[in-house]
Symmetry: C2
Subunit: 338 residues, 2 copies
Amino acid sequence: MERHPRAPLRADDTPRFEDIRDAAARLCGLAHLTPVLRSRSLDALAGCELHFKAEHLQRAGAFKFRGAANAVSGLDAARAARGVVTQSSGNHGAALALACRLHGIACTVVVPRGAPRIKREAIAREGARIVDCEVAQADRDAVTARVLAETGGELVHPYNDARVIAGQGTAALELLGQIGRRGDGRPPLDVVLAPLSGGGLMSGTAIAAHGLDPRIRALAAEPEGARDGHDSLAGGARIRGRPADTVCDGLRAELGPLPFDLLREHAVEVLLVSDAEAVAAMRLIWERLKTVVEPSAAVPLAAVLKHRARFAGQRVGIVLSGGNIDLDALPGLLALAR
Amino acid sequence: MERHPRAPLRADDTPRFEDIRDAAARLCGLAHLTPVLRSRSLDALAGCELHFKAEHLQRAGAFKFRGAANAVSGLDAARAARGVVTQSSGNHGAALALACRLHGIACTVVVPRGAPRIKREAIAREGARIVDCEVAQADRDAVTARVLAETGGELVHPYNDARVIAGQGTAALELLGQIGRRGDGRPPLDVVLAPLSGGGLMSGTAIAAHGLDPRIRALAAEPEGARDGHDSLAGGARIRGRPADTVCDGLRAELGPLPFDLLREHAVEVLLVSDAEAVAAMRLIWERLKTVVEPSAAVPLAAVLKHRARFAGQRVGIVLSGGNIDLDALPGLLALAR
């Protein structure tokens, strides 16, 4: 069903390019306009021109603030008064907590046991209420449903939500604007890559890129140990309930139904990398860009380095998705890539 | 003896504020104009307003490029043809190698055994010739003298050189310009801090700050395990030959005679911090600014956090001196601050 042009975007709508432009206007002055980072030595290593969108420098340390703030900003007064609820092992929870604090809205985050300490602390620091649950998706869903019933609050799902997807798409839109068109009429980038988990960032990225110029390729990068996204798109049906096994703690979610449809519509291909490749790429980003990203954020660079021939000489955009890493876990991570 | 206003700055001149302005003009378009980084959460932690000058994002990953490039840019054709020589365990060597490569000048770096792998590799990557020597200062000097005699080249000392000091001073000058005066006529910063080792950066910083506005305090920060600078200035005589024992590998040099005189003239006070305090501050910078600095660069923040009352409510500038850290050494470093 066609939406009325002025109707507010609902969670279960299909997000369009216009929704991303609306979100960008709404986030102006609320989200950081993050810089684009370059490195001559990484370009030489990859054999292409790399443009890193520094979303790990976004508020709350991840692109997630864009989607959360877009969803929260659009709530009417009655819904806002009942508060907002989500489930998250990390960056989305902290981002939603911050967005709610800025808008004076109550926020409850359902957090699975074993979530990284630094991410749990960030949620608490922003003043959200934390409700614990078990790791299994079934328990996450049960506890979230209970909290929603108790509070009458609004669910802002980390990725299966059109408002969130439209917000995440503003990162790629902004990146393309920052680079600008080339003199010969080609689009700002030949290809844009983002990590794939639940699919919110990746579908927003594809909609933004293709909305601006259909010649831009949108590619996803996913860890081998959480390749449900790759396998779901390859098989044409969403794989459910497969346990994730990867050190990329931001990429363990299951591809959501709305992102699944959007990624199919936009013919997004998924490149797979091992944990060792992700950690080696993370190390390169730390050493060459002097900037702290979490393992999940390095998965697209790992994919470019693995499939070098596909990107040779091209202008490549990469969304550095987040920078919330527990430094105490670093020795174990670095040992993986040795 | 007064210098002729148009005479080129020589290694053994006394550098003045005008020399720093000349250096800034010479470095324009050659050195990076590095950003100033801020963090709300670090400000809250320190109880003051912190402005970090990101010289770890300078070319070759440290402020050292400023001094090296200023010295090399000023060489006449005859001297340039004979090449340049220095001794360095790290950042100065790589910076001089890069400056020479950009100017097509031959460069030899005398490197003590045990220098960090990442810094040795950076020197080689820029195409300089590496000559090994022992760690003891006497052997460093003997080997450097031999190379100078063999090549007839120009010594560009890492800190005891007016051209180098003038170059290093451009970091603070640029920082002050980036911040700008406050509406009430106060200077851009109340205080500026830099790490102290041989004294090149610190004396350039003091000359720049006091040249712009004598009300700006210039403070040095030094590791306890390499406190010859502190003790030399306190005792009024330069301490020689005391071995350094600190993980801050960029701060192990002995305060040079020219910087010693300049720091006395500018009444620069030195604050001391332990290695554990330096590493804890480094970790804070990584986590809150999401940016990779080496332990030496975190020493000034450690000093601010240790002497919080002295900086309360003030506007504080800190030169983040470098970002060349060997990530393999990180687990051991982090264990120090636990």
